[in-house]
C-alpha cells in the first residue's frame, strides 16, 4: 500500500459533488502536486487529508493507518495555509514552538529545535520579531517552519506561494524544493499555477470538476497529455482535427486536413483505444512547430519578443484560430511556412 492512499473519496457540499470518487496514491518522500483550476476540488481534497473535512465516502490512509475518524490534532500531517495563519499575538519563535508543547522539551531543547528550524528556512535571528512585522515571504517561511518543526509524515501546502510577487515566488520555489530534499518529508502541494507544479513536483495529479484527469511526471504531462483538458491546462498547445486512415503496430496514418496526410508513430496515439476511421485531435506544442520554406503557408499576425526565442501567432488559410509557434522568424506581417514534425504530433480522442 502506498504511503498516502486515497480510495474512492467523495465529498459533496449541498448536494453538489466537489470531490468525486477520487483515487490517489503518493509514495514516501515524494513532492506531489494537485493541480487544477479554482473550484476543481483540490483544496477540499487537501482539507480532507488534514482532517478539516470528512469524506462522505471512501477512505484516506497515511502510512497504513486509516485516517477517516482521526481528528486533525491527532493526524501525522501538518499544513501550510494559504493565508499562512500566523498567530498574530505570538512572535516568530512562539509561532514555531506552538506545536511542540506536548513534547515537554526543556527550555534549551526547545530553543535548539526552533533555532535549527529558523536556520532551515533562513530566518536566523528573527525569532523575536512580532508577527505583524514580517514581510509576505517571511510569513511564508514562518508558516513552513511551524509545520515542519513537528516533523510530520506528510506536509500539506495550500497554494503556499500564491500570495507572493513573481520574483519572490520564483526564489521560494527553488528554496521549497531544496528544503523538501533536505528534510525528506513527503510534500503534497495544491496549486492552480501549472508552472509552479511543473517546476516543483516529482509527480502531478491534474484535477478538474472533482475528478483526477491524469497523474504523471511533469515531463509526461507536458509531452503526453492524456486528454484535451490536460493538454490545454499545461502550457500552450495547438489542436488540429484529423481522421484515422490506417493503424499498424508502429505507425498511424491520419488525414489531418490542412496538414495533409500525416504518418506518425502509433505510440503517439497513446492508450486511448483509437481505431481506424475515428475522429481525433492532433496536438502539438508551439516550440515543436518549425519555420521552414516547404511547409504550410501562413502569415505572422503577432510577434512577442521573449529573449532567446520569440512567440508568434501564425494565421494559416482555412483555419480561424492562429497557430502558436515559438522560435525565430520575421516581424508581424511576414509570410512564413510551418512544418509540423509528425513525431511531435500527439493524438487524443476527440470530444465529439
Amino acid at each position: 500500500m502506498s504511503f498516502l492512499s486515497i480510495s474512492q473519496v467523495t465529498k459533496a457540499f449541498g448536494g453538489l459533488p466537489v470531490v468525486n470518487a477520487v483515487d490517489l496514491a503518493i509514495e514516501r518522500g515524494e513532492f506531489f502536486a494537485l493541480l487544477g483550476p479554482s473550484g476543481c476540488g483540490k483544496t477540499t481534497l487537501l482539507r480532507m487529508i488534514a482532517g478539516f473535512e470528512t469524506p462522505d465516502s471512501g477512505t484516506i490512509s497515511i502510512d497504513g493507518d486509516v485516517m477517516n475518524n482521526v481528528p486533525p490534532h491527532q493526524r501525522p500531517t501538518n499544513m501550510v495555509f494559504q493565508s499562512y495563519a500566523i498567530f498574530p499575538h505570538l512572535n516568530v519563535f512562539d509561532n514555531i514552538a506552538y506545536g511542540l508543547r506536548k513534547l515537554k522539551l526543556s527550555k534549551d531543547q526547545l530553543r535548539a529545535r526552533v533555532d535549527a528550524m529558523l536556520a532551515t528556512v533562513r530566518l536566523e535571528g528573527l525569532g523575536g520579531r512580532a508577527a505583524d512585522q514580517l514581510s509576505g515571504g517571511q510569513r511564508q517561511r514562518v508558516a513552513l517552519a511551524r509545520a515542519l518543526v513537528r516533523e510530520p509524515k506528510l506536509l500539506l501546502l495550500d497554494e503556499p506561494l500564491g500570495a507572493l510577487d513573481k520574483r519572490l515566488r520564483e526564489t521560494m520555489q527553488v528554496e521549497l524544493r531544496a528544503i523538501q530534499r533536505k528534510v525528506g518529508v513527503t510534500f503534497l502541494l495544491v496549486t492552480h499555477d501549472q508552472e509552479e507544479a511543473l517546476s516543483l513536483s516529482d509527480r502531478i495529479a491534474v484535477m478538474s470538476a472533482g475528478k483526477i484527469l491524469q497523474i504523471a511526471t511533469p515531463r509526461e504531462l507536458y509531452e503526453r497529455p492524456n486528454c484535451r483538458e490536460v493538454a490545454d491546462f499545461i502550457g500552450e498547445i495547438n489542436f488540429f482535427h484529423a481522421t484515422v486512415r490506417e493503424i499498424t503496430d508502429t505507425t498511424a496514418t491520419v488525414n489531418a486536413g490542412l496538414l495533409g496526410i500525416v504518418t506518425l508513430p502509433s505510440a503517439n496515439l497513446g492508450s486511448h483505444g483509437i481505431k481506424r476511421d475515428d475522429h481525433i485531435l492532433l496536438a502539438i506544442r508551439p516550440e515543436h512547430v518549425r519555420f521552414a520554406p516547404d511547409g504550410v503557408a501562413g502569415e505572422i499576425t503577432s510577434a512577442t519578443f521573449l529573449g532567446e526565442r520569440s512567440h508568434f501567432h501564425v494565421k494559416i488559410a482555412g483555419r480561424s484560430e492562429p497557430v502558436s509557434v515559438s522560435g525565430n522568424a520575421g516581424p508581424q506581417g511576414s509570410a512564413v511556412a510551418l512544418i509540423f514534425p509528425p513525431e511531435r504530433l500527439i493524438g487524443l480522442p476527440s470530444a465529439d
Binding site: P71, H73, Q74, F81, Y84, A85, F87, H89, R101, A163
Partner: protein, 263 residues
C-alpha cells in the same frame, strides 16, 4: 449661519447632558445639607460620613459581588453564543439570536415581576443569586453584541492551524481564541459589570433583604439629611465610571492597533 445654529445646538445638547451630572460633585463638597445656591462653603465631611456608613458599605459590597458574578457569567455565555453564531453554519441562528436579545426590549419592570412570580412558584428564596440571574438576562445580549463584532474579524484559519499543530479544541481556545478575543472579552466584562452595577428595577424585585447599592441609595432619599452623603457617593461612582469608560476605550484602541486577522 447654519454652522452657528448647529454649534449652539451641539453646545446646548452637551450642557443638557452634563450640567445636571456636574451638580453632584459640586454639592457633595458644599457645607450645607440643603441643596440650594448660593454655596455655603467647602467640606469633605459628607465623604468622611461614607467611610463610617456600614449599611452603605454592605450594599456596595453586594453590588460589587453581583456585578462581578454577572459580568463573568454573562461574558462566558456571550462568548460561546457569539462564537457559535459567527463561526458555524447553524440552522435558525438568526432566530436564536433574536430570542436571546429579546430581554433587551422587554421593560425591566415586566422582567422583574415575571422573575419574581417564577421564583415564588418554584418556592425559591430571594437572594443576591436571584439578582444575578435577573441581571444576566439583561446583560447577555450586550455581551453577545460586543463579542459578535469582534468575532467577525476573526480568521478561522487560526483555529484550524492550532488544531493542525496538535491542540484540541479546549487548548486552542486558551492559546489562540481567548488571547485574540481579549479586548472584546474585557469590553464585555466592563459593559456587563456597569450594567449590573447600575441596575435598579430588576434588583428591587429580586433582592429580598439584601440591598444592592442603587436600592440603598433609593432608600436613603427618604431622609433629607442624608442627601449630601448620597451626592458624595454619586460623585465617587461617577468618577469611577468615567475612569472605567476611558479604560475600555483605551483597550478598544489597543485592539485596533494590532490587527487580528492572520493575513
Amino acid at each position: 449661519m447654519k454652522n452657528r445654529a448647529l454649534f449652539i445646538y451641539a453646545l446646548g445638547y452637551l450642557a443638557f447632558l452634563y450640567v445636571p451630572v456636574l451638580f453632584l460633585p459640586i454639592f457633595s463638597f458644599n457645607n450645607s445639607q440643603f441643596i440650594a445656591f448660593p454655596l455655603t462653603g467647602f467640606t469633605t465631611r459628607w465623604y468622611a460620613g461614607l467611610g463610617a456608613d456600614a449599611a452603605m458599605q454592605h450594599a456596595l459590597g453586594n453590588s460589587l459581588k453581583v456585578g462581578l458574578v454577572t459580568a463573568l457569567l454573562s461574558t462566558m455565555l456571550g462568548l460561546t453564543a457569539a462564537k457559535a453564531v459567527t463561526q458555524y453554519r447553524l440552522r435558525g441562528a438568526a432566530a436564536m439570536l433574536g430570542f436571546i436579545s429579546l430581554p433587551l426590549f422587554i421593560p425591566d419592570i415586566v422582567l422583574g415581576i415575571s422573575l419574581l412570580l417564577l421564583l415564588g412558584l418554584l418556592n425559591l428564596p430571594l437572594s443576591l443569586a436571584s439578582v444575578v440571574v435577573g441581571h444576566m438576562l439583561v446583560c447577555v445580549p450586550f455581551s453577545i453584541t460586543v463579542l459578535i463584532a469582534r468575532f467577525e474579524g476573526f480568521d478561522r484559519n487560526l483555529e484550524e492551524a492550532s488544531a493542525d499543530l496538535g491542540e484540541s479544541g479546549w487548548m486552542t481556545f486558551w492559546r489562540v481564541t481567548a488571547p485574540l478575543m481579549m479586548p472584546g472579552i474585557l469590553a464585555s466584562l466592563l459593559l456587563t459589570f456597569i450594567t449590573s452595577f447600575d441596575e435598579f428595577l430588576v434588583a428591587y424585585f429580586l433582592s429580598g433583604t439584601e440591598a444592592t447599592l442603587p436600592i440603598y441609595i433609593w432608600g436613603q432619599l427618604r431622609f433629607p439629611e442624608r442627601l449630601p452623603t448620597v451626592l458624595a457617593l454619586g460623585a465617587i461612582i461617577l468618577t469611577v465610571s468615567v475612569a472605567l469608560v476611558i479604560a475600555a476605550e483605551m483597550l478598544r484602541n489597543l485592539g485596533v492597533k494590532k490587527p487580528m486577522v492572520g493575513a
